[in-house]
Symmetry: C2
Subunit: 352 residues, 2 copies
């Protein structure tokens, strides 16, 4: 059995008994029942995924995977392709939004080059798991071969396994890749059956003409790559990207190790959806962080059955929304661990 | 001139030039323009309130004011009145939700007894600014005299001034007081003109019969206390509470010192609305943290013209939603202070 197959086979179901025990513990805390709303939901979800009534979230990491996309040659992005590599260098130096926000919430940033076109050599702290110098143009044929896709997935599984070994309690996923909203739109259309114009947005900020071109590119991608719902790997290969497949692998690897994964915006969520199509049980390990401005994001969250915690009009990617949500996960866990009970505090309980 | 009058007279207008300079600085950072959405709005708002292009948010505090309400005798709450004092003791010992969440975001908790009925003696760290042993029953006449209301407001002004002197950059406000959603509902109806049944919710969790009784109590309160829109102090006296007037004072005092105030749920927001009616410019210093489950909260946020940052189905009060939002304020400030510019990072700027 390959690493991909064995990982999928090893994903456990979530633990409803642990979740119920978490809720029972929360109901004894000095507050009206359920008055902490979604924080209580989060505590229960973490208990279910980690299979414990005492979930943990203090050790946090965000995996940011970068890759380039052949489809950039169609003029679908507001930024030139070299920005992918420039931003990886920015990540390595700690100057990007994800670095600032990860420091703020106390999360490690793990930067992975999954296949930038022309990487900046010798960057400290960037993990080299390159599958190739960017994908092929998905508007003209498959972006990746099946073998490349499996390599990217297994690279992601390896990253998640290593972080789980190091004791990381909760993971966030983010990405960088000029033109990758085009790939995410194509994947969303293929996986959900929704038409390209309803799942294709403006990415980093293209104008009307470029947006029309982008919708057309997604349409062509679906026409030249006949995708089969029964073959999620083939769909991911045809329309995805190295960083997207890599993040799908992170989801699978984390789910197999009972590590909750907080998904970020549109592209990271497309990766999570691909993982859930490869292994439906992987969806149980996911939490949605925020609702992106990107129009296709709603369709993915609905397909995954996830309600985001934040709605801050973000559209940056990199894992920025996901790390802000990590802070809420940790808040939920601390409420469970640190709040006094009615009994210990001598507070009268109304039972409500 | 009284402290209340001079404080109101000293509230400065917000600084639109500083806000524009904050946005200009954000536009130079390595991200598509406006892609951090509401975090960018928050950075601009903090710049406007603090009158600087380099706003600060690292020194954070939450003022939690407690008071009892005579209207509790009408059976409007799921919890007995002694819980107010019990919870103040819980705050003092660090076991309540607000303590846990404030620790999590790195905020000081300032607990103030504004008039609990029977306080627990000798609690360490609880500020004694008691106006009386709970208010009178607002369903039978004014809850407070005008003199008591001014005392409570000026106590709050003093708390804000002291925290500003100590270098606190941003404040959150929260409360505890059995039956205080009834007072907040009456204030909301009086200040917005919306009918009692549309602004009266279930507080800590009352059943249908108690809810009908509560709506009736709010109706009676508005009938026995004829309130005049031109007399916000009289309205606050008739329908408010010691902790609500105290928090309105904190808002006025903070606004006068250019300290941004993050409001919490329904009751803290009713206090903020009272402050805005006493001094319309005070509203410019406010940021809304979350949208409470309490039905009247929407009406207040609309009256204040504020859009909350979080929507987590919270209904606990204490400042719990507000301190979670403090973490987002600090995130916005750190983005502004710490992110690299396109120029410094050597990243190509698309101008979008």
């Amino acid at each position: 059995m390959s690493l991909l197959e064995s990982t999928i086979a090893n994903i456990p179901p979530s633990d409803a008994v642990a979740a119920a025990e978490v809720q029972r513990r929360l109901d004894g805390k000095t507050k009206p029942r359920a008055s902490l709303g979604r924080l209580e939901e989060v505590a229960c979800a973490l208990g279910a995924i980690q299979a414990t009534a005492a979930p943990r979230a203090e050790s946090k990491a965000v995996v940011v995977m970068a890759g380039d996309h052949g489809v950039a040659e169609e003029g679908v992005s507001a930024f030139p392709q070299e920005v992918t590599a420039q931003m990886v260098a920015n990540f390595a130096r700690g100057g990007a939004a994800i670095n600032v926000l990860a420091r703020h919430v106390g999360a490690r940033v793990v930067v992975v080059d999954m296949g930038v076109k022309a990487p900046v050599p010798g960057l400290p702290g960037v993990l080299d798991l390159r599958v190739g110098p960017g994908t092929r143009n998905l508007a003209r044929g498959p972006a990746m071969t099946r073998a490349e896709t499996v390599r990217a997935l297994e690279a992601g599984i390896g990253v998640a396994a290593k972080l789980a070994d190091e004791g990381v309690n909760v993971l966030a996923i983010g990405e960088m890749g000029i033109a990758n909203t085009t790939a995410a739109s194509a994947l969303t259309a293929a996986f959900t059956g929704i038409s390209p114009d309803e799942v294709t947005g403006r990415g980093t900020g293209i104008d009307d003409a470029a947006h029309r071109r982008k919708v057309e590119v997604v349409r062509r991608a679906l026409a030249v790559n006949p995708v089969d719902p029964a073959d999620p790997l083939g769909t991911l290969a045809a329309l995805g990207g190295f960083e997207i497949a890599g993040l799908a692998g992170v989801v699978l690897g984390a789910a197999a190790r009972r590590v909750p994964v907080v998904i970020d915006g549109f592209i990271a969520s497309a990766a999570a959806l691909a993982a859930a199509r490869l292994a439906p049980r992987a969806a149980e390990a996911l939490l949605a962080s925020h609702r992106s401005v990107e129009v296709g994001h709603r369709a993915i969250l609905q397909a995954l059955g996830k309600k985001p915690l934040l709605d801050l009009d973000l559209r940056l990617g990199e894992g920025t929304g996901a790390v802000l949500a990590l802070h809420l996960l940790e808040a939920a866990v601390r409420i469970l661990a640190e709040m006094a009970t009615f009994e210990a505090a001598g507070v009268t309980d109304s039972g409500r």
